[in-house]
Amino acid sequence: MTWISGHLGDIWRLTVQHAVLAAIPLVLGLIVSIPLGWAAARSRRLVPVALAGTGLLYTIPSLALFILMPLILGTKILDPVNVIVAMTIYTVALLVRTVVDGLGSVPSHVDAAARAMGLGAFRRLVTVQLPLAVPVIAAGLRVAAVSNVSIVSVASLIGVSQLGDLLVDGYNRDIPGELWAGIVGCLVLALLFDLLIQGLARLLTPWLRADSRSSARRLALADAPRDVGVAA
């Protein structure tokens, strides 16, 4: 405990660095995964290829990927870009499947209606399919966020600074307080990411909330001898 109160400044600095190293790949990964998942979902033959390809990337252990990044990117081993690109690769590996599932969860009659209204492929994606896929994509994003926060701490072994430094230093110098500060910091950060993504997903899907608010009304309607199934 005394270690923590004496190092609040360091802990804050490392937490911010950790958040940045985990968040940037999450955003980049989502931006890359949407077109990839969309292209894969449009052709049945591409789906297994895209999933197998990204799955292979996910098999590479994190420490190995961090170390191999400078070879591919031509960067220095201490460059945080290595970690950002490696984490983006993991995020894409997790999210392509999610995007394919999410777009697949859009009811076909909704897509057909949008098509009948004259919407092109791109507008259907942006205004109809993606909004409806938000709950599924958000669920995948939450898994990726929690996994990213945990994996980023490994980057301390190659000398890229973030909360993992507290883990390594706490272990090396036998300071349990420092080690625990690192573990709890990672957990709190993972929780914050999780809550943030849930909050964003809620904001993006107001119709789901409207549904739950009017569920009492819907129950009442369901009792009435009318066919309300189409509206549901």
Binding site: Y58, L68, S150, L157, L187
Partner: protein, 246 residues
């Protein structure tokens, strides 16, 4: 840089001996097998039981939530706490093995549970209606149907263990992680990157092997991939294959 790594990988001196590549690969695989064996013995029966009875579901959620704990932190915390209490080689290997088992549990548990949970209740009822006992329903109906998800849990756990065993070299475990950790410590990038390549290839090969095992073990009735002969037999008997009927 790449020629240096190539030289390191192809130098016969690096392959032999107690700290050579061959020994390290063998260590890495042995640890992974031991860990997966222990974790499977705990998690697979438990997951099947939770899926079969529907009891203890919070355990699966709790195991999933526990994945947020950073693996590096868990490893160091256990090594710091348990290390001084053990003597000899055990002080280095035991904490790592325990952490690796803990990390392998959630995916195994989730896979086994989700597999049984996903069995169509009508199928289960039909099996009961045919007079199968509770244990027979689990072994002859639920387990084969749960197998694809169960095995995907095994694949995920295996990757997790191979990756974390690499990091566990930092707290003294053998295996390929030694090249990465020791190489980083002395600034020998050729050995570090060579070791990283070997780990990546090992993980890839093991995953491909498991993918092959999945294809062999999963019942053709589930994948719809029946052999040609079987299809011919069925159509000759005036029966359309199940896969076509659905």
């Amino acid at each position: 840089m790449i020629p240096k790594i190539w030289d390191w990988l192809t130098d016969p001196a690096n392959w032999s001996g107690a700290d050579g590549i061959a020994t390290r690969v063998q260590e890495h695989l042995t640890y992974s097998l031991i860990v997966l064996g222990i974790a499977s013995l705990i998690a697979l029966p438990l997951g099947l039981w939770i899926g079969h009875t529907g009891r203890g579901r919070p355990l699966v959620s709790a195991a999933n939530a526990a994945r947020a704990v950073p693996t590096l932190g868990l490893l160091f915390a256990l090594a710091l706490w348990l290390g001084p209490r053990l003597s000899g080689d055990l002080a280095f290997t035991a904490p790592s093995i325990i952490v690796l088992v803990l990390l392998a549990l959630p995916p195994l548990l989730a896979g086994a549970y989700a597999g049984v949970e996903a069995v169509d209740p009508a199928t289960r009822d039909a099996a009961r209606g045919m007079g199968l006992s509770d244990g027979q329903v689990l072994r002859q109906v639920e387990l084969p149907i749960a197998l694809p998800l169960l095995l995907s849990g095994v694949r995920a756990a295996t990757l997790q263990v191979i990756a974390t065993a690499t990091i566990a070299a930092y707290v003294g475990l053998g295996g390929l992680g030694r090249f990465l950790i020791d190489g980083l410590a002395i600034g020998d990038y050729a050995a570090t990157a060579g070791g990283a390549l070997l780990v990546a290839v090992l993980a890839l090969l093991v995953d491909l092997l498991l993918a092959g095992v999945v294809r062999l073990l999963v019942s053709p009735g589930l994948t719809g991939k029946q052999s040609r002969r079987r299809r011919v037999e069925l159509s000759a008997a005036g029966l359309s294959p199940i896969a076509d009927a659905t």
